[in-house]
Subunit: 497 residues, 2 copies
Amino acid sequence: MDKKLKELRIRLTEAAKLNSALALLNWDEEVNLGPKGHAFRGQANAALAAELHKRMTDPKFVILIAGLARKPGYNRLSADGQVVVRESWRDVSRLQKLPVDFVREMAALSSKAFGVWAQARQKSDFDHYLPVLSKIIQLKRREAELVGYKGHPYDALLDEFEPDLTCEQLDKLFLPLAGELTKLVAAVKDSPPLALPKSTYPLPAQTALNREIAASLGYDLQAGRIDASPHPFMVTIHPGDNRITTRYDEQDFWVSTGAAIHEVGHALYEQGLPARHFGTPLGEAVSLGIHESQSRTWENFVGRSPEFSEYLHTLLVKYFDKKTIRYTPGKLHKWLNRIQPSFIRVEADEVTYNLHIILRYEIEKLLIEGSLQPKELPGFWNQKVKQYLGLTVKDDAQGVLQDVHWAHGAIGYFPTYSLGNLYAAQLYNAALLSMPRLPAGYAHGRFKPLLGWLRTNIHQTGRRYRPAELVEKVTGQPPDSSHLLEHLKAKVNLQTG
Amino acid sequence: MDKKLKELRIRLTEAAKLNSALALLNWDEEVNLGPKGHAFRGQANAALAAELHKRMTDPKFVILIAGLARKPGYNRLSADGQVVVRESWRDVSRLQKLPVDFVREMAALSSKAFGVWAQARQKSDFDHYLPVLSKIIQLKRREAELVGYKGHPYDALLDEFEPDLTCEQLDKLFLPLAGELTKLVAAVKDSPPLALPKSTYPLPAQTALNREIAASLGYDLQAGRIDASPHPFMVTIHPGDNRITTRYDEQDFWVSTGAAIHEVGHALYEQGLPARHFGTPLGEAVSLGIHESQSRTWENFVGRSPEFSEYLHTLLVKYFDKKTIRYTPGKLHKWLNRIQPSFIRVEADEVTYNLHIILRYEIEKLLIEGSLQPKELPGFWNQKVKQYLGLTVKDDAQGVLQDVHWAHGAIGYFPTYSLGNLYAAQLYNAALLSMPRLPAGYAHGRFKPLLGWLRTNIHQTGRRYRPAELVEKVTGQPPDSSHLLEHLKAKVNLQTG
């Protein structure tokens, strides 16, 4: 058994090394690649992805894991060994259920769909997108059947991004929350728009500001980088090389700083995973939801706290001088927390963001169960936006066409964003219970105690626990939306009070 | 046959795509990677290199090529098909001759040797390097026996970098040249040192200057990038993505501009290879010598011409203003062409550079034939430097320890540098014969005619001809050192006349 487990670790680690190269190709494509390089880059990418897929579905590899996962031998493995085998078997057995032809069809379709979606959004022409989107939904429904599920077919898709998550759980978490959040939106409806005095924030100073904040939060710049890209993201190439990007707006420093703090949150998780377990589940993040909880913790619970605004204000004066920063820390704090319903998810505030997600969840679930037809999407979408946000969608570009995710075949992904908010609230509440004076330190740039707590409780465990299990282990209760709701109510009070 | 040829092309192209990822990993390591990323990066690199090696030595692949290379079937292939098969068979049959254990031993040794060499050079301690260097030479001698040769064992090593090149040819090209160059060195020995007035050249302006020059020379920045790295280099990731780097010195703009022009020369070759043949020998450079001929053409024959100094002077005034540029184009030209014997190859001028190379060639040849022992290296080296350059080496750091190449196992590589100079002189002479007014255009930033000539005669042919064959085809005579010698004599006259 030990010999087989060793072989499994070697095979996983070798695959992870090839995956490092793939991660770098992707990072480079977003950050560096010139306009004429994309055609061949796509081919290089596909060749490497194909090699990786071949290794992960190699019958010898599958038989090796299946053998290790079989009882009673499995029971005799060490605790670490069990995690490696259990989670590898989870990954591989899912892949195993998808025939090669299906995988190829999905890859070809999503590659085509991206271009169609981009055109459709540009022209705000849903009908242009409808045929390819319908085909994607048809394939994802087939995927659900191939993968299998106990309750709802959508469970099979959720499980790819958030292990063990089901509609039954999400309905309990999201639907009551939607009702409460709709009330909060109504409460802020008439509050006047909040703005800071207009200023210009030169980009080199923004870059320096972001580096100082990132380092203070605990991001190791010797093992990472901060670059610019149109869509901010975080990527781990391998241990010791974890990178984030941000984007810039000269009129609004928070565009880059807010994104940088968010991505640093993701990066701190990755930099906290045990490097000695690189390539095996013990060195990997639990789920997208838990990952998002880390970025949201730093962006919203730390970055939008009153104490952080004091720290940030001092830095703003340092990097942009007093003439530029014509507002108090208090005003800055209010501005960072303003709530204003809007059409676009990625521009949404903390309260309405979750409504954007919940409506997507409801739609995806109906599409996969077949009770909503793709052609009915725009009407249904617009009706939900009216119901939740009180807004009237004027064209599909700012409605159902705004997100790329479905074109990539990513259905079951959106819920992880709000799950991240919900986990963040619950985890942060637990951190505060054990260290009530935590926020006081933020004003002075002291973030290490929080990072230490996250390292111990979340980062170092890798995939030892499933997401809901981890949350319950750390907070003493299963995932629950009450902490997030409390947090968001306070934001509304700040604006209306 | 056609089906088999098609399969060969597919396999070659798939391997080339994985090689793109490897090239990016290497580029990134030099340009971007943080200090804590190197350990795991080395592992990712090795994993991908191993996959590539596996594919290139896969028995099915070797049998496929061997079958295609066999007559009479080979004779029935198209001309293009013959090139693909001939050159692939050349590459693969060389690899085939090296047992797996030998390759592994060499890789492990050169990986270890790099660290030992770096320490030895730092402490100027040859004895520290001697054991590992002796082992490398022992392995390279074994490699020569495994690969096989007709004349001299060193031929087997030369052939890796410069197909078909032999000691017999090199002796004819290099040894008389060494005598002539030694006389030229003696002639400039007493000329006073030439310097420009001291100025500071801010780095952002240097970057902008280099971009303008690179674009004028014909480098497509939409399919490339210019970054900074400690050692300037050029790398092709894949068609449409060809990158160069340079390094900067605020007191001397030519450190970055000269290196950029040199690397642009390499890049123009790669950007001129036919992209539709990506991955097959028809889309690859002929040899290191021909590659170097391209970089030297632009750096030395264009970049150090009097007309280029006029163009460059105008740009210097544009980017650094008149107060900074307190010298005439004529003075600039003289300064760019100054000759001054020195210890370090990479800092050498055009004349003495070739003496640095020829002495390395003589040493490598003696080491491989076994008539010089590694422990005798410092003494032999210093004696040669005295003979050729008239200089007394004070310590091994500025002598035999200065180059990393041997630590990498690259023996047979140095000669390609001077071969490049020699080819460049001969090819450039042919270009001038067909377009005598070529240099007049440089003063006005017109470089397209020369690039067009190189594209047609050198770049577009890929590996259709072997290096010496290509030179003879384009210039009407086999490689010959007379053109280089004429060129260098003119430089000496410029300084002494």
